[in-house]
Symmetry: C2
Subunit: 340 residues, 2 copies
């Protein structure tokens, strides 16, 4: 019906207006600013229906309407066209990310870029170790009974661990061990490394066995440790602006949750590449995020995302713009990682 169609347009207008002005929006302002073709009175009727259906709400009796989480959800689901970034923005992305010198640098720049583009808090996850492949495994003797194991992945991550080896070890043995391990692991996905370990130990020369076992054990530990997934956060200053209005009380819990990382990592765990996920307000399980929205996407060229990135902000955010920015940055990061 033309009826329903107009109501959708009203909802959309309410969201847009509220997002840009941060004031509850009334029927009159709506009629004036958006070309809805009907009078304020009609809009009021539509708004009454929208409110009954739970898409909008009034902060108090004599105020305008504000979208609910459900309203934002509806709005986001009907976002027909993602507005593409402007040429200037594309240029900015390129300029910002080119010249990055290593993984740390790429992700650091990405997070700053994303924070700047969206004016929200940006989060970028390091490529998940278990989905990365071994590029090289280096062993540096620290003493006769301790080795430094350095793992270098094809995504550019470098992890180091000290391995206590059960027997005294000489330089030649270390070299043998290094060759053996690299032959076995180079090119292999870390997620599948555990399968190889058993055979590798069995087939190794006897004098190497305990060493292979020790190093392999450390390698596998690395994959389950909390440091497996790391996070870079930036633009937290963006929380401290209009936010007194956006977040109830202070935004302290939100900052705490972000620093905690676990919460965000859990959200990230679900993202797939190329499909942007939007999680709105109460949809977030963690309490500190119930007033926030999270826009995220995976990056990486394959079918499985290497990691995720996204932005966190008030539910009252520019979803279209943020989705576009997040997607663009993810694509670019994916390219950069594939190159190196």
């Amino acid at each position: 019906m033309a009826h329903d169609d107009r109501r959708l347009r009203v909802l959309r207008a309410i969201v847009q207006d509220y997002v840009s002005t941060n004031d509850p929006v009334g029927s009159k302002a709506l009629a004036a600013r958006y070309d809805l073709g009907v009078s304020p009175a009609t809009i009021r009727n539509d708004m009454a229906v929208l409110e009954e259906e739970g898409y909008i709400t009034q902060p108090h009796t004599s105020a305008g309407r504000v979208p609910t989480d459900k309203g934002y959800r509806f709005f986001v689901d009907r976002l027909s066209a993602i507005k593409p970034l402007s040429a200037a923005e594309r240029k900015a992305i390129e300029k910002f990310l080119d010249g990055a010198v290593d993984l740390h640098d790429v992700l650091g720049r990405s997070v700053r870029l994303l924070a700047q583009l969206t004016r929200q808090v940006a989060v970028v996850q390091y490529p998940t170790l278990s989905r990365s492949a071994v590029r090289h495994l280096e062993l540096v003797p620290l003493s006769t009974s301790r080795l430094l194991m350095v793992l270098i992945t094809d995504t550019g991550r470098v992890e180091q661990r000290v391995v206590e080896v059960p027997v005294d070890t000489e330089a030649d043995t270390v070299a043998e061990l290094r060759t053996l391990l690299n032959t076995a692991f180079t090119g292999a996905k870390l997620g599948e490394a555990s399968d190889k370990v058993g055979d590798l130990v069995d087939s190794a020369a006897p004098h190497l066995r305990p060493l292979v076992a020790a190093v392999s054990a450390t390698l596998l530990e690395t994959l389950v440790e909390p440091s497996e997934d790391r996070l870079v956060i930036g633009g937290t200053a963006n929380l401290a602006q209009g936010s007194a209005l956006d977040f109830p009380g202070t935004f302290r819990p939100l900052l705490e949750a972000l620093e905690e990382q676990v919460v965000v990592l859990r959200l990230m765990a679900e993202v797939g590449p190329s499909t942007v996920t939007v999680s709105i307000g109460e949809e977030n399980e963690h309490e500190a995020l119930t007033a926030a929205s999270f826009v995220s996407v995976g990056y990486g060229s394959g079918d499985q995302a290497l990691g995720g990135l996204g932005v966190v902000g008030p539910t009252r955010m520019d979803y279209a713009g943020n989705i576009a920015a997040v997607r663009a940055v993810a694509r670019y990061v994916g390219h950069l990682l594939a190159e190196s």
Copy 2:
């Protein structure tokens, strides 16, 4: 004179009271809470003098007094005994930092620990590259014309760079190169590496020269890049509590300055090991920090600090406690790095 002595005690009491209550402190409260042995009227006279000398000020006519930056400075300079941490706190530090698995982990834990102990924003600097020594230099061929150089330092930092080599290179040559570079650089301070490069190139076998030059150049670049010094920040949530009173307007600029890192790094550049530096309010050059104080110290066992760490908070902070915490954590971090 007994006169001056009492005034000092009055100032000290004002600082302590204001720090703990966050209310301008009046003569009566002072007389009641601190055993100064004189009546409020006398204290009023002392306060008038202290105000004239610029150590304290009144927010408005009929309010109590608040310490000025100068007052805090005086207070800090006369901090006779740094109160040692409680046994429980020492235990907590140990428990928190032990079990750290690599440098990233050590610093991440330190920053969380420091933020928790002081309830301020904590910053920890990665060990400066140029003051670290080479533990190992690894080269991984990416293609015949590109090498991945991985630098591992004795402080646990790992840096990686892609080196474009001028000539096609085979595995044997890379091995030769690796041996050569490690023989030359292992154990050397990176700050002194540039001295060695010239000789090294000259003395190398002809077919290795361009390679040595290329890798060395990249190595030296690593030392001047902005990534030379890195920073971990934590506890920003601590800004968002009583802080509406502590920072004029919002603390947005402060958060921005912290994320910018440069400002903090400049402050850190001056710290020496074992001497805690306190920078109060207007003493900080950067505008965003003029309402904040910065307590910092270098860590590292030698005479030159490997890096710095500290806390940032409102000028109204517990200087004695924060100095103690910062010092204790720095000492512990120093030990941990020396061990590995």
